[in-house]
Amino acid sequence: MKANRKRISQIVLDKKGGDYADLPARLGGYWLHLSVHDGMRIGLNPPAGIPADVWINAICTSFAARAGLKAAWTCLANMCRWLVGVLNPQPDEGNLLFPDFQLLLDVANYGPLSLWASKPDYGKSLVQTLEAITQASGRLFCTFNGLDFERDIISHGKSVVIDMANLSPPWVRQFFVDLILSQILLARIHRQMRVDGTEVVLILDEADADVSRQADAAFPDGASPIGLCLSLGREFGLMAVIGLRVLGFVSRYVLNSVQNHFVFNLSDQESVIEATKTLLLPRGGENMLPALKPGQVLFRQSQTGWSHTMLGKVDNVPSNRTVKTTPYDTHRYTPSKPLTDLPEVRKALDARIREHKRTQIGQVRKSKQGLPELARNLLDQASLHPFFPVARLWELIGSPSSGGCNSARKALESGKFAAFEMDSISNKKLLLMEILSGGWELLGKSAPVKSGRGGITHTHHCQWIARVGESRSHLVHTEWPVPGTSHPADVAWNRDGSWRVFEVIVGCSENILSHIKACLVESDAVETVTIVTCQQKIRDQVRKNIESQLVMSPLLSRIHHEVIETYMKELWP
C-alpha cells in the first residue's frame, strides 16, 4: 500500500449520541468530539472560496426544502444578501460575517415584511419558521462565522464525532446535516478540488429520514445535499457511509449511487423487496434476509472483481457502553449579536425602510393612472354607499360581467386602493369591501375616521346594526363605552332612556362572557345584550355555552340571540 500522506478525515454524525461517543477518547489526538447542545457553533457563513451569493442560494434552497417553505425562500435570500453587505463593509473573503437566525428574525420583525417579500404571506411564513428554528436550536447557530469543516478539521487531517442526539424537530436536524454536507461538497466543487483518493468519509447512521424519497422530492432538482454528495462527491474525494433501518423508502437516487451494499437482518416486507432488488438476489434469496443472525450480512460490491452477492459475517467490534465523562471539544467562532447591539445595522435598516416607503408611495401614484374604469366606478360607489355589500354596489353600477368584477377587484387590491373580505352569512357567501387610504386619496376625498375594532366583516356587521337602529329612530352609538366599566360595546341603541347593547361575533367568541358581565353586572345602564352571529349554528352554540354557565342564570332573560341576516333583510329587503 503506497504511503498516503494525507490522513482521511472522518465526519461522524451521531444521531443517538452514544453509538460513537467513545471513539474520540479512544482514538486520540486527531479526533474531536462536538455537541450541538454544548459548544458547537455552525453559522450560515460560506466556507472559504465560495462567493456569498452562490452560498446564499444553496442554503436558502435547503432551508426552504426542509422547513416546507415554497416562495418564502426568496425573502430569506433577500434578507441574507442585504445583511451580509451591511455586516461586511470591507469584505474579507475568508472571514465573512453572516447573519444568524436570531438576527434574521430581529430584522424581519423590525420593519414591514414588504421590505423583503412581494407578498406579506411569504414574510409571515418565514417569520414563523425563523422563530421555530431559533427556539429549537438553542445556541447552535448563534454565530456570525462558525465552524468551517474544510478549514478547521479536514485541512488538519482531523476527524470529528458530532453528537446531535435530541436535536429536534426533524427538519432542523436535517437542515443542520445539509449545512455540513453543503460546506464540504460545495467548497470542493467551487475550488475544483478533484482528487484521486478518498480524503473525507462522511458517516451518517440512522439516516432513514435524510435519504428517503420524500426528502429528495422536497428539493427543486430532486436531489438533497446527501444525494449530491453521493452522486458528485467521489471525484472530489468524498465517501459516504450510510446506515439505515429500513430500505423500503430510500431514494432511488441514493441506492443507485452506492457501490457497496451491506444488508443485515431485515424483516419488513418493503425492505425485503427492496433489498432483493438491490442485491440482485435470485428467487428464494429473499427468504435469507429475515434469517440473518446478528453480524451476518448479505452484500454486493459493484465495480470490483466479484459482483455477485455474498454471504459473510462482520468482525465483532464492542459497542460503546461507556458513560461520557470528558467534556466536549470547542472551536473558534465569532459570536453573533442581536439587532439591539448592532447600531450600524439598525441605522442601515431605518434608511432602507424610509426608502421603501418612498418607493411604495410612488408605486401607488403610478397605479392610479392604470386603474380600469370599472374599478374606479366600484370605488366611487363604495365611497357613496359605505358598508354596502359588493354585490349591491355592482347592482348600482349595472351588474357587469363576473370577469369584469374580478378584474376590477384585483386592480383595486393590487394597487392597495381597497381591501376585500368574504363573509359567510347563513349558507351564503358575501363579499365585503373597505376603501384604503390610497383609495380615498385617488377619490380626492378624506378618509373617514375608522370606528370599531375588528376586521372588515366585524365592522360591516356593526354598521348594519347601527343603521337599523337609526332607521327605527333610536339614538345609536358604535364602540359605546359602557358606563361604569372599561368595556366598549360594539353597538348601542338608546330607546326611551334605556340602553340595548349589541355584541357582534365573527370568529372568536371567547370573550363573550366577560362582555356580558361588564354590561349586565358591572354596569346598571344596560337593559339587554343582544349577541349577533353570522350563522344560526354559531348562534345556537353560543347560546348553549352561555346557558351552561351557572353565573349567567340570573341574566338569561336579558340576553338575546340574533343572526346578522335579520338586520340585513331590514336594510335590503
Binding site: 500500500m1 503506497k2 504511503a3 498516503n4 500522506r5 490522513r7 482521511i8 472522518q10 453509538d19 460513537y20 471513539l23 482514538l27 486527531y30 487531517g157 483518493g197 478518498t198 468519509v201 458517516i203 447512521d205 467521489r234 474525494g237 468524498l238 465517501m239 457511509v241 450510510i242 446506515g243 439505515l244 433501518r245 429500513v246 449511487s257 452506492v258 457501490q259 457497496n260 451494499h261 451491506f262 444488508v263 443485515f264 437482518n265 431485515l266 424483516s267 433489498a275 438476489l281 435470485p282 434469496g285 435469507m288 434469517a291 446478528p294 453480524g295 450480512v297 470490483t304 472483481g305 466479484w306 455477485h308 455474498m310 454471504l311 459473510g312 462482520v314 468482525d315 467490534v317 459497542s319
Partner: protein
C-alpha cells in the same frame, strides 16, 4: 447401506454440503466405504448447524469466491469480516471513494459494521503516518 448413512448422504446431496470442506471429505470417505452407521450418526449431528444454515439460507447464491477472485482488482484497504468460505472481505477506499450503504433492523450488526469501518480507517491513517515518518527519516 445403513439408514443413517443413507440419511447422511441424502442430506449432503439435498443441501449441497459438498461445497464445504467437511461435506466433501465425508462424501469421499463414504465413497471409499469408510463410514460406519455409528460414524454416520455422529457426522449428522456434527453437520446439524451447517444443515440448518442451508435451510435458512437456501443455496441460491453464486458460489463464494476464492481470495484471488474476490481481490482480482486489488486487496481491500480495510478488512471487515469473512465470507462463508473463510475469504476475508473489506473495502478499497485509498485509490478512490466507494460509498457504503448498511441496512438492517436494530441489533442486526449495522452499527457494528460502521464502527468497524471507522476503526479500520483510523488504523489505515496510522499505518500511513508511520510509513510517511519512515520515508521522511530515510530521506
Amino acid at each position: 447401506m445403513g439408514q443413517s448413512l443413507d440419511t447422511l448422504l441424502d442430506a449432503i446431496a439435498k443441501y449441497n454440503l459438498d461445497r464445504f470442506e467437511e461435506g466433501e471429505q465425508i462424501l469421499q470417505l463414504a465413497e471409499l466405504g469408510r463410514v460406519s452407521e455409528h460414524q454416520a450418526r455422529a457426522y449428522l449431528i456434527h453437520l446439524e448447524d451447517l444443515i440448518q444454515q442451508q435451510i435458512d439460507f437456501p443455496n441460491v447464491l453464486h458460489r463464494p469466491p476464492d481470495p484471488d477472485e474476490l481481490h482480482a482488482d486489488g486487496s481491500p484497504d480495510i478488512l471487515l469480516g469473512e465470507i462463508e468460505n473463510g475469504t476475508e472481505f473489506g473495502l478499497r477506499i485509498v485509490d478512490r471513494p466507494r460509498h457504503v450503504l448498511c441496512a438492517g433492523t436494530t441489533g442486526s450488526g449495522k452499527t457494528t459494521c460502521i464502527r468497524n469501518i471507522i476503526l479500520r480507517i483510523e488504523e489505515l491513517n496510522r499505518e500511513s503516518q508511520q510509513e510517511t515518518n519512515l520515508t521522511d527519516r530515510s530521506g
